[in-house]
């Protein structure tokens, strides 16, 4: 598999996240990620897309965009929302500070972005020029996963 680029545009409805997670599962399996890492990828993208829809685009028709760059050893995923009319980006220093200060095990919300940091190999979150938020995450095959895939040709992605 060379470097491939995939674009997905979703309406701002939570229902559409699930089919994306199913697609990512298959993609991650093809690359050779183990089951635990695939679950991590799905959970991280669920959290990011949920934020993008609930806080970054709910109530308008802009939707969200998911860009995936894939090669035979890693997945780079960008989730982009264009902000809401009244609030703009949900990711500001003030909001992050507020979430951080209020975070506690018995809080119902505010855990998602911290989970994404734990689950991904790299993460970058920043306001974008559209008035919304970009969240970029990277998942790389571990040495063990790469070795396992390379010794089992049935797991190897097609060239």
């Amino acid at each position: 598999m060379g470097q491939e680029h995939i674009e997905i545009h979703l309406p701002s409805r939570l229902w559409y996240i699930e089919p994306v997670l199913a697609f990512l599962k298959q993609l991650a399996q093809q690359i050779g990620f183990c089951q635990q890492r695939i679950a991590d990828i799905q959970l991280a993208i669920d959290e990011i897309c949920g934020n993008a829809i609930e806080h970054g685009s709910e109530g308008d028709d802009k939707g969200i965009a998911i860009s995936i760059d894939v090669n035979d050893h890693q997945l780079d995923i960008l989730v982009r929302d264009k902000g809401t009319r009244d609030r703009g980006s949900w990711l500001t220093a003030e909001k992050l500070e507020e979430i951080s200060q209020r975070r506690a095990p018995d809080r119902e919300r505010g855990h998602g972005i911290y989970m994404v940091e734990e689950l991904s190999d790299e993460v970058k979150m920043e306001p974008n020029s559209f008035g919304g938020t970009d969240v970029r995450v990277r998942f790389s095959l571990s040495t063990d996963e790469q070795r396992r895939r390379d010794t089992n040709p049935s797991n190897k992605p097609d060239d």
Binding site: L14, E54, A104, P105, R109, H111
Partner: protein
């Protein structure tokens, strides 16, 4: 009672919500509604059985944590059971493992009330 993604049933004086679908952002709102309905009734003992769930996000965990906090104010509790390893991992990542009691099986969760 069943709404497709979960079943609500009685086991003596314990109400069991058995979740049959993965608890992503969409289905998590169903769980929240079911729990809100139970909080509006006289039910004091609730078990959320996650034995068929392969995926849960922080919204789903948050719904359980929120319900547990509210029902404890009137002397009740919400316990969870049947967590696969990656479901337990989500409870650990959010810190919910330290807030909600987790049991291997439904019977052990019922016995703990």
């Amino acid at each position: 009672m069943s709404n497709g993604s979960m079943t609500v049933r009685e086991n003596s004086d314990v109400t069991v919500i058995e979740v049959q679908d993965d608890l992503g952002s969409y289905v998590a709102s169903d769980l929240r509604e079911n729990l809100e309905d139970l909080l509006g009734s006289k039910t004091q003992k609730i078990i959320v059985n996650l034995g068929s769930v392969q995926h849960i996000n922080s919204t789903g965990v948050g719904a359980i944590v929120g319900a547990a906090k509210r029902i404890r104010q009137r002397g009740g509790d919400v316990k969870v059971c049947g967590l696969a390893d990656n479901i337990k991992r989500t409870f650990d990542l959010t810190g919910a493992s330290s807030v909600v009691e987790i049991y291997e099986s439904e019977s052990s969760a019922i016995s703990a009330f």
